[in-house]
């Protein structure tokens, strides 16, 4: 049209409107059709679909878009017949119309980009539509005719259903013609009731005409948002100046302005909010198509579709969500046969759920599919060269599953054209992090997977806590803030516990890993301004909490988040910058990344938090005697008192060097000294003139540990955590007297110091061990004692297998070959006495030497034990006696066999 420019613009505008509206409508159609498939006779759905296609047909006629009009026309035809009840929607019909809709989408795309309908051929889809319409109409007509023939004989019987038009109808609203077979009165009344129902349906239909909505250009809304942001900044300045000037009138005015500004900003924010349903609603169609293509049955459910998000966030999560959903269909939900064989329902469930929580939007995508197998992931990571095998195996299952977010990772065995290569998870994570959000995954093999996305609700203006450190101010988004803790200076330094490099604080019994802001940002402390007391800001990053140590707290403020320039894009600790009320710039801390650095720096302290959550053993009233001591000032250690020979106080000048090792004179001989910091990753003791030596006598030699302070000996119920501190030289760790204590594996440490210590032949009353390793079954419910005894039994050269209770012990005993059994007398499930009796009753094993051990002496017990059939009975604490006993019993057994 070579008209004046004005006309062109007008037409353009109208075309744009048409395109926008049509797109919205087509999106609705996708959803409606999937709903229709599940409810083929739902009149409301049919009417809605009909209306949309009818509108499309009309408007495309107006624009003279012939292809569009044609497709719409024939689709509308089918719809009108289904709406009138002539035939019912089924998969074939729905699939064909969905195909038609895809053609419509192509045309709309062409209109948008090229302003013409495009060159594609749509003839075949039009023919398909026509064929469907014709064939189903024919079938329906034949059916009706045969039905009516049957009903023709009893003329007096009134025909119950209102018979509808058999001929094709172009206009849907006219009253149907009534067949002459019906009686006049009945037909009249039937017609009336039908008309009534029709009228009702029309009036009940949701009005889509004049609603209270206006279309607004999103760039206008963006501008409004920016202005709102600037207004907030100005307001902050005024409030600050007003408080300084302390003028009552000014304060009042600034107060009211402040309230209005906050509300204005909130409302403007709201204009850009849209329900997440707009994105979710695409998925029924997507899932339906993918599932069909993959041959899977999937039931999709959507929750929280009304949850509102800022439009830009909505746009940005579309792709990540699509990718995750595709992954779930492709890799998550199994084929129906597979599901049945696992005892699951054939139809898999996929659920998308959105809700608000604490200033964030949470989106959960969960399925009850195959889950993510940490073993396979670890393998894949090793194969891809992302991790070394040792590192991969040291990861917990949860961390292993999180590997899917690493760039370069893909577990798809082959390229599927459904979800591509599945390489997108790292892209998903990056995109979500760009929005300031986080994503994490939980999965259980064969049970299912849950992906959780958390995104902060508002991007631009957020309430924040302003803190200062080393003279600089920083802002912390309030959404990450949990609480503020202040520790007074007297208790301050002692309340912060250290493990290696990591620091942490016990907050109401929970372990809180700490990070010092000045350290992580490498700030320079000026003027030696020492702060008194410690300020800990408790923050939550990705679920795990940690404490940030700062110099002080300034205020809370609503801040406008402004991006930092690309020069600083590599500094992950800053989420942006803002201008404070005093006009100065403050950097906004990125709490999620701070949390990540805490994890790296203080991995041990981090996992320490799990001690309280972990399943720990009950020791059932067994007390252990331990010697507590310090090496570096704040680190507490323990060794079993039973092993300790003596404590010696020395002065450092007593230490001599002999043969390259440090020794002191002890009982007329040179005794080597072990500095524990050389073998465990712990801090050195402070310099002091005096020190203590813990002397052990092992393998008939003396050796000492150099420690700075002996704290105490205690008898406590020890609960060992073996996982957090899994290092050579440690039995594990525990909380003793409110402090984290590392339990030292004395034997292992000595072996690290001198690998030949235990294998050297020495004069001793204990016979040398035989060349063949004896196999000992050690049955004890106490983790502590199992660890202890196993350690020195193995040091003696025995092969030790452990069991946690009598039942397990018996199982192992019967299925393996052993030379001796050590039984703890008080155990759950099957106590030592019972186990002994069972052993003596079993032909296969009744002859084995059986040593009973216990922590507490009791003559009653002793008698019972011997009655049950033990060969010997010793105290656990008496290691020497125990080893001797074992030797004797084994000797006896050997000679008996011969």
């Amino acid at each position: 049209m070579a008209d004046t420019g004005k006309n062109d613009n007008l037409e353009d505008e109208i075309l744009q409107e048409f395109l926008i509206e049509s797109r919205e409508n087509i999106d609705k159609l996708d959803l409606l059709f999937v709903q229709l498939e599940d409810n083929p006779t739902d009149k409301e759905i049919l009417s809605s679909i009909f209306r949309i296609i009818h509108t499309l047909k009309g408007t495309s006629g107006f624009f003279d878009f012939k292809n569009l009009e044609g497709i719409s026309h024939f689709a509308e035809d089918i719809l009108s017949k289904m709406r009138d009840g002539l035939f019912v929607a089924n998969t074939e019909i729905v699939s064909t119309i969905l195909e038609a809709i895809d053609h419509i989408k192509i045309i709309l795309n062409n209109l948008e980009t090229k302003k013409t309908e495009g060159d594609e051929d749509h003839l075949d889809i039009i023919l398909k539509l026509k064929n469907i319409s014709d064939s189903y109409t024919r079938k329906a007509t034949q059916q009706k005719e045969s039905q009516e023939e049957e009903k023709e004989e009893p003329v007096s019987k009134p025909i119950a259903q209102p018979v509808l038009e058999e001929k094709e109808e172009e206009k849907p609203k006219e009253t149907p013609k009534v067949t002459p077979k019906m009686k006049e009165e009945e037909s009249a009344s039937q017609q009336k009731s039908y008309e009534k129902t029709l009228a009702e349906t029309i009036s009940n239909a949701p009005h889509t005409v004049t609603e209270t909505n206006i279309r607004v250009d999103t760039s206008l809304l963006d501008n409004l948002m920016n202005l709102a942001g600037e207004l907030v900044l100005s307001r902050n300045r005024i409030v600050q100046i007003a408080s300084r000037l302390d003028n009552a009138d000014l304060n009042n005015a600034s107060q009211s302005m402040s309230l209005i500004t906050t509300e204005l900003q909130e409302k403007i924010m709201k204009t850009r909010m849209q329900p997440i349903g707009n994105v979710f609603n695409k998925f029924p169609r997507v899932v339906r198509d993918l599932a069909k293509a993959a041959g899977k049955e999937i039931d999709l459910s959507l929750d929280g579709t009304e949850t509102e998000l800022d439009k830009t966030i909505l746009e940005a999560i579309k792709d990540p969500l699509t990718h995750i959903v595709r992954n779930s269909v492709d890799h998550g939900i199994e084929l129906p046969e597979v599901r049945l064989s696992k005892g699951k329902k054939e139809t898999g469930s996929l659920n998308l759920r959105a809700y608000h929580q604490g200033g964030q939007v949470i989106i959960e995508i969960s399925d009850d599919g195959a889950g993510i197998d940490p073993i396979k992931i670890r393998q894949k990571a090793i194969e891809k060269g992302l991790l070394s095998p040792e590192k991969a195996n040291s990861l917990s299952d949860r961390d292993a599953i999180a590997l899917i977010f690493k760039p370069g990772f893909s577990t798809a065995e082959k390229v599927t054209n459904i979800s591509g290569r599945g390489v997108g998870m790292d892209v998903v994570k990056t995109n979500i992090e760009k929005l300031g959000g986080v994503v994490d995954v939980q999965s259980e093999v064969d049970k299912g997977t849950v992906l959780r996305i958390k995104i902060p609700l508002t991007l631009a203006i957020i309430p924040a806590l302003v803190v200062h450190s080393c003279g600089e101010k920083f802002a912390i988004p309030q959404v990450n803030l949990v609480e503020l803790v202040r520790v007074n200076s007297d208790e301050a330094e002692s309340q912060i516990e250290k493990v290696g490099e990591a620091e942490f604080y016990r907050l109401r019994g929970e372990i809180l890993p700490l990070v010092r802001l000045e350290e992580v940002l490498q700030l320079k402390r000026k003027n030696n301004d020492k702060t008194y007391g410690i300020n800990i800001i408790v923050l939550s990053g990705v679920g795990r909490q940690f404490g940030l140590i700062v110099d002080g707290i300034v205020d809370t403020e609503e801040i406008v988040v402004k991006p930092l320039s690309k020069h600083m894009k590599n500094i992950h600790f800053f989420a942006g910058a803002t201008i404070l009320g005093d006009g100065r710039v403050a950097l906004i801390l990125d709490v999620v990344n701070l949390a990540a650095s805490v994890k790296l720096k203080a991995e041990e302290a981090e996992e320490f938090a799990h001690i309280d959550e972990m399943h720990v053993e009950e020791t059932r009233g067994e007390l252990q005697s331990l010697l507590l001591f310090n090496v570096a000032e704040n680190e507490q250690f323990a060794v079993p008192l039973a092993l300790v020979s003596r404590l010696e106080k020395i002065s450092i000048k007593d230490i001599e060097i002999a043969g390259g090792k440090e020794v002191i004179r002890y009982r007329g001989a040179s005794m080597p000294i072990i500095r524990l910091e050389n073998f465990l990753g712990i801090s050195s003791p402070p310099y002091s003139e005096e020190a203590y030596i813990i002397v052990f006598e092992l393998n008939n030699q003396n050796i000492g540990f150099y420690v700075s302070k002996i704290i105490d000996t205690v008898e406590v119920n020890v609960v060992i955590d073996k996982e957090t501190f899994d290092r050579n030289g440690l039995l594990g760790s525990s909380i003793i007297q409110e402090k984290v204590t590392l339990l030292l594996d004395v034997y292992a440490i000595i072996e690290m110091f001198d690998p030949t210590w235990f294998t050297r032949k020495r004069k001793s009353s204990i016979k040398e061990k035989k060349s063949r390793s004896y196999r000992i079954l050690l049955v004890d419910d106490s983790q502590f004692w199992r660890a202890m005894e196993q350690s020195y039994l193995e040091a003696q050269g025995y092969n030790v297998v452990v069991a946690e209770n009598g039942e397990e012990g018996l199982e192992k005993l019967l299925s393996g070959h052993y030379d001796l059994v050590i039984v703890d007398l008080d155990m759950p499930v099957m106590d030592g006495f019972e186990m002994t009796r069972k052993i003596r009753a079993n032909d296969k094993v009744k002859h084995l030497p059986l040593l009973a051990v216990t922590a507490l002496t009791d003559d009653e017990d002793k008698k019972r034990a011997y009655d049950a059939g033990v060969d010997n009975y010793v105290l656990k604490l008496d290691k020497g006696l125990m080893l001797e006993s074992i030797e004797v019993l084994l000797e006896r057994y050997k000679s008996q066999k011969q």
Binding site: M568, I579, V585, L587
Partner: protein
């Protein structure tokens, strides 16, 4: 006329000289300039907020009427070494800000003294030598011989980029 500067020949029959305007400033008493079309504004001392962990040539960020602008320490950026100033003096040093770039994407260059806007004849412009003592040559657009001193005109795009 878009003739390369090297090709300017005074003996050409056609008069091909033109003039460019350069905003000049001093760093360590050496004269530098930026083409005037790249300069948005010039500000006296502005409050600086340092950015921890930033590259060394980033002095910090400033508040430019509500916009947060990165401040580049030009001396460090172009590779000039400090002469005899301790870090204490550094932190107390007052800079002038030359804001370059576009309104939506600008940076502030920190310089010692602001000079005049000079009009330079293309006759006097020469390509930069391969090495200029004390400078990273990649930031130099061209040099200009003035009476008594050498004016080094900087390439504002390179100065601003994040490499």
């Amino acid at each position: 006329m878009t003739m390369k500067i090297q090709e300017i020949n005074k003996t050409d029959l056609v008069d091909s000289t033109y003039k460019i305007q350069v905003a000049t400033f001093y760093i360590d008493n050496k004269l530098f300039g930026i083409p005037i079309e790249d300069v948005l504004e010039i500000n006296r001392n502005v409050d600086m907020t340092p950015v921890p962990l930033a590259p060394p040539y980033i002095e910090g960020v400033i508040n430019l009427r509500g916009q947060i602008v990165t401040a580049i320490n030009l001396r460090k950026r172009i590779g000039m070494h400090e002469r005899g100033s301790s870090s204490v003096e550094e932190s107390n040093k007052q800079y002038n800000n030359i804001i370059i770039g576009t309104r939506s994407n600008c940076v502030s260059l920190l310089v010692d003294e602001i000079g005049d806007v000079l009009e330079i004849s293309s006759d006097d412009i020469e390509p930069p030598p391969d090495t200029i003592k004390g400078l990273d040559p990649k930031y130099v657009k061209n040099v200009c011989k003035l009476k008594g001193e050498l004016l080094v005109v900087l390439d504002s795009a390179k100065v601003q980029s994040e490499e």
